[in-house]
Amino acid sequence: MSSENRAEENELIGRAKKGEFEAFEELVSRTEGKIYNHLLRLVNNPSDAEELLQETYLSAYKNIASFKGNSTFSTWIYRIATNHAFMLFRKRKPELPLDELPLPTHEELKRREIRDWDFDPADAAQSGEVREILTEAIKELPENYRAVVLLRDIEGLSTAETADALGINEGAVKTRLHRARIFLREILSSHFAPEELEAMEGK
């Protein structure tokens, strides 16, 4: 964010803190698109995403006095939105599993005859079929990991911003991101290099 935009954002936040709804609404308009997308990808359900979006901004409005400006407004909103999504997950599935996604071993890589995928990812990402595979793979991730990969690899936040948005430390972001990427790689390789799995199954 440029210093000019940051100054403008700070001015809006200052006015919102004084209770000026129009200034708050402008902050909503500037961030609602990416927050809606984040929630939709996180919860996979448009009506839940819509409800969470409303709760997120209402909560932001009520707590705007506590926004210290150490991060951008959007990182702060990502945090509130993600917290609300996790409250919903816990309500529906009270014991949120602390999944530890495994890493493959070096021996396993050798045995599976891992081969490079023969396409350019920037071109492949334009295909509707590939996008569908990518979307479906994300849904398979446990929520804790899904949130990290969405923020880092899809929405493009830095490690520090992701840590801030999720209320975890940077080390935890890196660990979860790495395991999530490997999990996704495994799913994608079952589509892009099915012979890898056949080698693993000894076919």
Partner: protein, 85 residues
């Protein structure tokens, strides 16, 4: 050999930081050296890089549907005005 195996495990754990250029240079050199002589690790790293790149380039936003936006703003105007009172 024991050193090599440990090194492989560490390398597999560090690959994302390597891809994101978040590792210190000495660790990068060690990974580069390993990659020079380990085709499975190279293929694994390349496919991991492609996984990341696919997600980096696939994240175009769905525009917030107009009724969702309208309901959000109506909801906030109503509730935030209540807060003030």
């Amino acid at each position: 050999m024991a050193y090599d195996k440990l090194s492989c495990k560490e390398i597999l754990e560090k690959l994302s930081e390597y891809i994101d250029e978040e590792l210190d240079p000495s660790m990068c050199d060690e990974i580069d050296e390993h990659m020079g002589d380990c085709p499975p690790c190279v293929a694994f790293m390349n496919t991991l890089k492609k996984t990341v790149k696919l997600y980096n380039t696939s994240g175009d936003e769905v525009e917030i549907p107009s009724p969702v936006r309208t309901k959000l703003h109506d909801f906030l105007r109503r509730r935030c005005t209540d807060e003030k009172e």
